[in-house]
Amino acid sequence: MSQQMQARILFNEQVGPDVFRMVVEAPEIAKEVKSGQFFHVRCGAEYDPLLRRPISIHQYRSKTGELFFLYQVKGKGTALLSQMRPGEYVDLMGPLGNGFSLKKGNGLYVLVGGGIGIAPLLSVAQDIKKQGFEIVTLLGAQSRSHVYVEDDFRLYSDQIFIWTVDGSSGLKGLVTHMLPEVIRTCNINQILTCGPHGMLKEVAQQAMAANIPCQVSLEEKMGCGVGACLSCACSIKVPEDSAFTYKKVCVDGPVFEAEEVIWDEE
């Protein structure tokens, strides 16, 4: 069950120009987490910044009781997080949200990650590999220096393709360019994706057109993280007679089936 805790930091190291990987000790929690879930992290002790920040599980090791986070320094909160040192404690709330659920089949899994959206996919890759399935990974980034933890993904992926917008690493262009070919040539159980909204939409539409199950991990600004404040509304198809128009990214998501999402809304 979700809880609030002070977790000891084991590592907090820079792995890219603006990206850090934090490893914390949380033995009980590390046994319970599901890939795609997130933690709501308090980044400082004072009131500025005030709110927690949602950060996905990047990896978990049930045996050693370790949780990994991969995060990009965007503003105040993540900047403070990056200044924390091993031995200090970080205030976590979680695990929160639903997580990915793997659709079984006799094919392979395709992971599509863009930018820092790759963070939760490594954990998913681990899960899939544990069950012995094949993985094709497509990672997109702005440029060479924004390709993070590529080696970790190589460990679990049977095939991996890196796309950079400027072509400075791997193939040049958007990661979604390659998806049609992958869809055409592979027997796919499911596509799992996380990244910028535009990318998710493109992946979802290609998957739906090809009738391939697809799960997307959405983002929205969060207050509580537990379904209480209604900050994180997202447009999900609900029955006509429902009392609700929106679902909540924090408790109904962050992972949704591609066809549930209303992609046309801006």
Partner: protein, 306 residues
């Protein structure tokens, strides 16, 4: 054995074991925070603002962080009173904690209809009438900023219910004292202050408002000085009890509101930062009373030394 100090308060007929309530809209319907604390230890649970019909609320982004505060423009999203009674009340009724329903509407008649509907239901300990929500176009804030309209709404609700009636006031007014007096006159049993301050946030890069609704309500520690001032001003002007709120994060904050003259406090934004903030506050108030040698919370209420 030493006796624990008494924390019990009576807010215009709403009896609570301790003065710590949840602020409407920040604690969902209670169940959301059940993993983090024992709901039975709360003074009362005030649920999300409820309307007659379901409301979809505003587009996202609905929140924006600000220095030591946050803006929200949820727009009163809620599933409507029928859904609330059918699907949320049963869980709450399993607990031994007073449930206060926060109500909102577009007209005095709306409020009255909703109040009448709730008055018939079992398990509801009080009504908090939100005449101050800044996030809905119609009505909402206007009621709370003019004495005559505030009186209309409270008067209409008063006619249809015997439940303790709490008027929740907007801080976006020239004189909070005048509004408080007018709702007291109209029959309110208590007042809640403050709702959020109307604010705005702009993204310099995109030159767009950070909230889809453009403006929203400011809450959190940033507003505490304003809230405390209003509680103190109103405490000197009316005879009904005050529920103080606005930026309460710790027991020390809560104690300050009690000293200023609030008889109870509500905890809002703090829940998001610290999910067991309410429990820490209950414990902290008790400890404060013990340290100060006070036997009853009423020794603390309104004890400002001037």
């Amino acid at each position: 054995m030493k006796n624990k100090p008494s924390l019990a308060v009576n807010i215009g007929g709403l009896k609570m074991n301790n003065p710590v309530m949840t602020a409407s809209g920040t604690f969902g319907f209670g169940k959301e925070y059940a993993p983090y604390l024992d709901l039975n230890r709360l003074g009362a649970i005030v649920v999300k603002g409820t309307t007659l019909k379901p409301k979809a609320g505003n587009k996202v982004p609905r929140i924006a962080e600000t220095p030591a505060g946050m803006l929200n423009a949820v727009g009163l999203e809620n599933p409507g009173v029928d859904y609330f009674l059918a699907h949320e009340m049963p869980f709450l009724k399993q607990h031994d904690v007073p449930v206060v329903v926060n109500i909102a509407g577009n007209s005095a008649a709306d409020y009255a209809e909703l109040a009448a509907r709730l008055d018939r239901e079992e398990g509801i300990a009080a009504l908090e009438v939100n005449i101050s929500c800044p996030n809905v176009k119609q009505g909402g804030i206007a009621f709370g900023t003019q004495c005559s309209m505030a009186q209309d709404v409270i008067g209409a609700v008063r006619k249809v219910t015997q439940l303790p009636l709490i008027a929740k006031l907007s801080p976006n007014v020239t004189s909070i004292v005048e509004i408080a007096k007018s709702v007291e006159e109209a029959g309110a049993d208590a007042v809640s202050l403050i709702n959020t301050l109307l604010g705005m946030s702009i993204d310099a890069k995109t030159r767009k408002p950070r909230l889809a609704n453009i403006v929203g309500g400011l809450s959190g520690p940033a507003v505490k000085p304003v809230a405390l001032r209003m509680v103190w001003q109103v405490a000197g002007a009316i005879d009904i009890p005050i529920i103080g709120m606005g930026g309460i994060m710790t027991a020390e904050d809560a104690v300050e509101f009690l000293i200023a003259g609030a008889s109870a406090v509500a905890v809002g934004t703090a829940n998001f930062v610290n999910p067991h903030a309410t429990m820490d506050i209950v414990n902290g108030i008790e400890q404060y009373l013990e340290e100060e040698g006070m036997k009853d919370i009423h020794e603390l209420i309104g004890s400002l030394q001037i």
